[in-house]
């Protein structure tokens, strides 16, 4: 079904037109001035209508969105609830990745939505955030797939690639025809990407690079068609390379025994002297600025997304405690339950407002990376806590995947960790606050 939501607030805030009723006299010539004056004096001052508190949108976020953003959010929310929710329990239980969803999202135009041209929608970053929130309301694994495709594959090609590379890859990535993955993290280098061991050696005779190394914890890699891999070149600079499935020496085994983000496929990228043509190198960036630019893009989406997961858990816990009767009353009648819900409501509401503020700053090109670190960290940490609380509120039923919350608890463990752990973002902020870095033991 198409758009279901319509926000009355936006248009009721617009200039209201006076209702003209044929039956009401407009003041005829016959009415005496004295009579009119008396009417004016007798009229009471108009009271502002009482504002109703809406726990679903406690600080009226809807009123701060443009009509277009509301339509995008509502249309995509309908898709997520109608097409993604029905799949997720089994997908998560049996660790099955529905590759089709990438094509479905491509059809809706939500992949790489902030990119201008190349078959992309070209919307605001706020819209991107709203999209992430709706997907993650269903599952963080699905949102990871979308984030990787949009921020970690399409974005670097768009920001750092040549015109030919953009024309070659972006339209197909936007349609979801091909799926990409992002290779930065290594088995021995997670929080310190600068220490990466993957090497790229240039061969002048064939104009190719030979790349060897291993990347791990790569979302999408087992089924990806391309991989944007970051490797250290001979000059010590880190550069990005587009590797294609089928290249000799490239393997993408799946990581088994994963108990988080089970609905998305995660694996390694193993490169044994893979020969990559020079045209596949992203020429317009070198050094860690490249991967970090991508990560910041993704982290912003995660800041919104995690709150979507938290919102689901909050709403689910509320409904459960209203329905479940113990000792003759609904669980929601209890103070401990209400306190937990009050805390959830507060953190989600404040978190969303901060994400909106950040999105507007990004759209105005006035955002610094530390802002994104701050909100990614906040949203993930708070959402994980909310999910755990909600799980507790559901009691025994809280551990059954039928009730969804335990799945969010599992997922948010990874979301809190990837794209910069909770602690690493604290160090980023600490450095910004004090001017002193505390990442390494040296001065």
């Amino acid at each position: 079904m198409a758009l279901r939501g319509a926000v009355t607030r936006l248009l009721s805030n617009a200039r209201k037109r006076a209702a003209v009723s044929a039956s009401r006299a407009q003041g005829t010539a016959a009415a005496s001035p004295a009579q009119n004056e008396a009417e004016v004096v007798a009229k009471k001052p108009v009271k502002a209508p009482k504002v109703q508190f809406n726990w679903r949108d406690a600080l009226e976020l809807d009123g701060l969105l443009t009509e277009e953003e509301v339509m995008i959010r509502d249309s995509f929310r309908t898709y997520c609830q109608e097409k993604l929710m029905p799949r997720i329990i089994m997908a998560n239980r049996h660790e099955h990745f529905h590759r089709e969803i990438v094509s479905e999202m491509g059809e809706l135009g939500v992949l790489g939505p902030t990119i201008q041209g190349y078959g992309c929608a070209g919307t605001s970053y706020v819209a991107y955030g709203l999209i992430a929130r709706e997907v993650e309301r269903v599952d963080s694994g699905y949102r990871s797939v979308m984030s990787v495709q949009s921020s970690l594959v399409m974005h670097p090609i768009n920001a750092y690639g040549t015109e030919e590379q953009k024309e070659k890859w972006l339209p197909r990535l936007a349609r979801g025809e091909i799926l990409g993955c992002f290779g930065l993290t290594e088995p021995n280098h997670g929080s310190d990407p600068a220490g990466m061991e993957t090497k790229a050696k240039y061969n002048p005779s064939s104009s190719t690079f030979t790349i060897s190394g291993a990347k791990t914890w790569i979302t999408n890699s087992p089924v990806a068609d391309i991989a944007v891999v970051w490797a250290k070149c001979e000059d010590g600079r880190i550069r990005g390379f587009i590797l294609e499935r089928g290249m000799k020496g490239l393997a993408t085994p799946k990581i088994e025994g994963k108990f988080s983000l089970r609905a998305s496929a995660t694996g390694m990228i193993l490169m044994d002297e893979v020969e990559v043509p020079q045209e596949n190198m992203l020429p317009n960036v070198s050094g860690l600025a490249g991967p970090f630019g991508c990560l910041n893009n993704a982290r912003y989406g995660i800041a919104w997304g995690a709150l979507g997961a938290a919102e689901f858990c909050f709403h689910a816990a509320r409904q459960y405690t209203l329905d479940r009767i113990q000792f003759g009353v609904p669980l929601a009648r209890n103070q401990l339950m209400q306190k937990k819900m009050a805390d959830m409501l507060t953190e989600i509401t404040i978190g969303l407002q901060s994400c909106l503020a950040l999105g507007r700053l990004i759209d105005d090109k006035k955002a610094a990376p530390e802002m994104i670190s701050m909100l990614k960290r906040n949203s993930c940490g708070k959402s994980l806590d909310i999910a755990r609380q909600a799980r507790d509120m559901l009691g025994g039923n809280g551990i059954a995947d039928e009730y969804h919350i335990i799945r969010h608890v599992m997922n948010l463990e990874a979301v809190n960790t990837y794209e910069g752990t909770h602690d690493i973002h604290a160090l980023i902020l600490g450095r910004a606050i004090t001017g002193l870095q505390s990442f390494t033991v040296e001065k």
């Binding site: 758009l3 279901r4 319509a6 995008i72 809706l108 135009g109 070209g122």
Partner: protein
Amino acid sequence: MSRVLVGVKRVIDYAVKIRVKPDHSGVVTDGVKHSMNPFCEIAVEEAVKLKEKKFIKEVVAVSCGPTQVTETIRTALAMGCDRGIHVEVSGKDYEAMGPLQISKIFAALAKKEEASLVILGKQAIDDDCNQTGQMTAALLDWPQGTFASEVTIDGEKVKVVREIDGGLETIKISMPAVLTADLRLNTPRYATLPNIMKAKKKKIANMKPADLGVDEPPTRLAGVKVETVDDLVAKLKANGTI
């Protein structure tokens, strides 16, 4: 130039729990989520499909009501309609408005826009009238294909499969015609991001019923309750209705 008029109505969202106003004068609509009537969504989808199959050139989305209905028109534009017409009716007039008024407006617009088809939802989920399509056809003296579960254009004619009490009925009517969409006609598309953004640039014309020569709705008179069918027949005979 083949043009289709699609009517869309802004109604309280189907998922909302309806509450009656404390003074029993109606239902609470303030601050309540509204959206496009589901049957209107199906009508829009059918019109856009016909355009994609190149049977028609232009789809015009029409809605009658206060300012807020432009949101619904915008949704129709995001689904693929080319332009919109907002017939402005607000306040008490809007509350008094019913299918007869709407069908007069649609009939006037159909003539003005030289439409080949008028496609409406079979009924609105708030009043469940199921009258507008039929009245519009009558006012225009056009053939009607109501409760359509399948629509095929065949030259100057339209083949309509209708869902009726007894099963399925297939009729062939000539254009121009009025069609009303039933549930199984199609599955409305999700508005894609690019289309939502294109919708911003599409035009929504604004007009009043008077511009179309349609007068204000009559004030609604109170009815009379009777106890038995015999009373009803007697009263109707007495005031000359039968």
